[in-house]
């Protein structure tokens, strides 16, 4: 399924409708703070109810207009799925798994070297060329991670994760 297509729009319309309904319901059942004797027009759930209803309405309109929406023929969603998938997974691993479990500088060095190495090492000539590229990305990762960590740790006095 393409990102910018009628099918994708209908699928997201269903998601938005559910999200809108959840927010409207959440606003409706939200504590009205009667115990504090607040004005009934200032209940905390008022705006979420309105927003939820508005999103449901927009979702219906989106689903209805999906087929008629004009779309670019030269869409840029024809890029490299492999590059994207690696970037998304590796970046999430760094941000959500490595950070907080090992020192930030070490995690960043692994991430940067791994990222650059994944693309650059296979593209280098087989043999010593690959070895040199691998060494370069490892050195680049270590130096860059060290510089960023030092900047935040000593320059901006941030206690790194």
């Amino acid at each position: 399924m393409r990102f910018n297509s009628a099918t994708a729009d209908r699928a997201t319309a269903a998601v938005f409708f559910a999200l809108g309904a959840a927010m409207a319901w959440g606003g409706y059942v939200m504590d009205r703070l009667e115990i504090r004797q607040i004005h009934p027009a200032s209940i905390p759930g008022l705006v979420p109810m309105i927003l939820g209803a508005a999103l449901m309405l927009c979702a219906i309109l989106l689903a209805r207009s999906a087929a008629a929406t004009p779309r670019d023929t030269e869409d840029d969603d024809s890029g490299s799925l492999q590059d994207f998938t690696f970037t998304a997974i590796w970046s999430c691993v760094f941000a959500l798994v490595l950070v907080g479990r090992i020192p930030f500088a070490a995690g960043a060095a692994i991430y940067i070297a791994g990222f650059a190495g994944w693309f650059l090492v296979p593209a280098a000539p087989i043999g010593s060329g690959r070895m040199k590229t691998a060494l370069f990305v490892m050195l680049f990762g270590a130096v860059t991670a060290g510089a960023i960590s030092a900047l935040f740790r000593y320059g901006f006095l941030v206690r790194l994760p």
């Binding site: 927010m23 970037t87 941000a95 650059a116 990762g141 935040f152």
Partner: protein
């Protein structure tokens, strides 16, 4: 008027210190690099740099952020001209004529014209900032809850309408999603915690900086790796010059002034931004130019109009940001967050609490403009080298900054998770052609909309009448209704039929 200009002159003198010049020099250069690299936007640059300004003095911090903003918007023209890929969305119109000029071997001259256009556009915007901001702040003092509610709705509707392109509905949806994000956490009237989903870290709401860094930083990294690699057009002409001809600038003087005014006015409209400023200026220049058939094929006038228009949006977007705390563009939204972090409260009271601050901002913009003119005309070769940095080297560094930047603000790993979530969702929404500007505006304006509606209803004892009867409210209501109606296809078709019929009658 004279008082304003005197305040402006005093601010320029106060800013002319060696240390300020040093900060202007590095921050603007960094901004140009950020803007020139496809995938690094002005919003992302300002958001990431905000995280580096926590320990700086207030004025220094704002100065470097303004320089980053101006530099990045200008820098986008480099890759638009040499790669046919706008470094920032603001330079999309620039590539239409800049790239054909580069292909003709006039890349240097195209960059020189872009520099002159950017500098002159920013200057036009600065003049309008100095002239318009104080009276607007005065008008805003009359705003009550009813007006602020409609102002917030107006911002979301207009931003959604103008950035949604052929499908304004997607712009509205993006705005609604932003408003819904703003509903998370403790609300501003009774301090009741809403939609925290069991995470105590969400009691204070979703912070803007992690959300922005995710939506504009991580999402950009993913987008860059998703796209195919761009090809660089090398400078290969012997008669190419890197300084703009005075004759060209004089010939295009009306285009420059018109584009500067259009860009500034677009900047004043909440959440619309530089790309629309550039397109609107480009379209106006094309309509009035005697050489309009050259547009899109390497027109110097078209290039000048686009660059003047997008740069003039920068000062324009700061007018509502400073006087109403409503951002005129996505980078201005981050600037508002930065102002709060550094103890400045933008809004109607700014001319009372800090009467000279608007002039200080204008002076900072002047310094940044001088810097882009100097760099733009002298460092052309360096910018070409920067564009050769492989994305595989650059993107992991950018993402590492995306991780540590939001963390540095609150020292919570939860904010890293927020950044990742906004990055992934932002990427998908972008690919599905949902604009990001209304989403950001929604996050910023959500609290204002929520508090103003409930406070207004409390003041009127539940009556909706003051929301429609007060003059400023009524003005906003009319504009909002007309905007939404014009976004509906049947209304647009009827309007087009009516205008063509009227044209036919007037001809006969």
């Amino acid at each position: 008027m004279m008082e304003g200009l005197a305040g402006f002159a005093a601010a320029i003198v106060a800013l002319a210190t060696p240390m300020s010049v040093f900060h202007v020099a590095w921050a603007t250069l960094l901004g140009i690099f950020v803007g020139s690299l496809p995938g690094l936007t002005a919003t992302m640059g300002v958001a990431l740099l905000t995280t580096l300004t926590y320990t700086m003095e207030r004025d220094t911090a704002i100065l470097v952020l303004i320089c980053m903003y101006v530099g990045a918007i200008y820098g986008g023209s480099r890759s638009a001209i040499l790669l046919n890929i706008p470094g920032t969305p603001a330079s999309a119109a620039t590539s239409l004529d800049g790239y054909p000029l580069a292909q003709k071997g006039q890349a240097g001259y195209a960059m020189a014209l872009a520099t002159a256009g950017s500098a002159l556009g920013t200057l036009v915007g600065i003049v309008m900032l100095v002239v318009l901001a104080p009276p607007l702040a005065e008008i805003a003092l009359d705003f009550g809850s009813f007006e602020f509610f409609w102002l917030a709705v107006f911002g979301i509707v207009i931003s959604g309408q103008l950035t949604g392109g052929v499908a304004p509905l997607k712009g509205y949806i993006a705005g609604l999603l932003g408003l819904m994000v703003a509903m998370i956490g403790s609300e501003g009237i009774h301090a009741h915690v809403r939609f925290n989903l069991g995470f105590h870290q969400m009691n204070g709401g979703i912070a803007l900086i992690p959300a922005m860094v995710g939506a504009f930083g991580f999402a950009e990294v993913l987008t860059v790796m998703w796209r195919n690699k761009p090809e660089l057009v090398e400078k290969n002409s012997t008669d190419d010059r890197v300084l703009p001809r005075l004759a060209d600038l004089i010939r295009y003087k009306y285009t420059i002034i018109r584009s500067g005014i259009i860009g500034t006015l677009v900047g004043i409209i909440p959440g619309v931004g530089e790309d629309i400023g550039a397109w609107a200026s480009y379209a106006a220049a094309k309509r009035t130019s005697p050489e309009r058939e050259e547009f899109g094929k390497g027109s110097r006038e078209g290039l000048t109009a686009a660059e003047t228009g997008n740069s003039a949006v920068v000062p324009g977007s700061l007018i509502p940001a400073l006087t109403l705390a409503v951002p005129g563009s996505a980078p201005a939204a981050v600037l508002i967050a930065a102002l709060f972090i550094h103890g400045i409260r933008p809004g109607p009271m700014i001319m009372i609490e800090q009467p000279t601050f608007i002039y200080s901002i204008a002076a900072m913009l002047v310094f940044a403009t001088i810097a882009i003119a100097i760099y733009g005309l002298s460092l052309t070769r360096l910018f070409i080298l920067v564009l050769k940095i492989p994305r595989e080297i650059l993107m992991p560094v950018v993402f590492t900054l995306c991780v540590i930047g939001p963390y540095a603000l609150t020292q919570r790993t939860f904010d890293i998770g927020v950044m990742v979530a906004f990055g992934l969702i932002g990427f998908v929404l972008r690919q599905m052609k949902y604009p990001m500007a209304p989403l950001v505006l929604g996050i910023i304006l959500g609290s204002l909309l929520d508090k103003s509606l409930r406070r207004g209803l409390t003041l009127s004892d539940g009556s909706l009448e003051p929301f429609f009867s007060r003059p400023i409210s009524l003005f906003f209501v009319v504009v909002i209704v007309v905007s939404i109606a014009m976004g509906l296809a049947p209304v647009r078709r009827s309007f087009a039929r009516l205008t063509s019929r009227l044209k036919g009658k007037s001809k006969s």
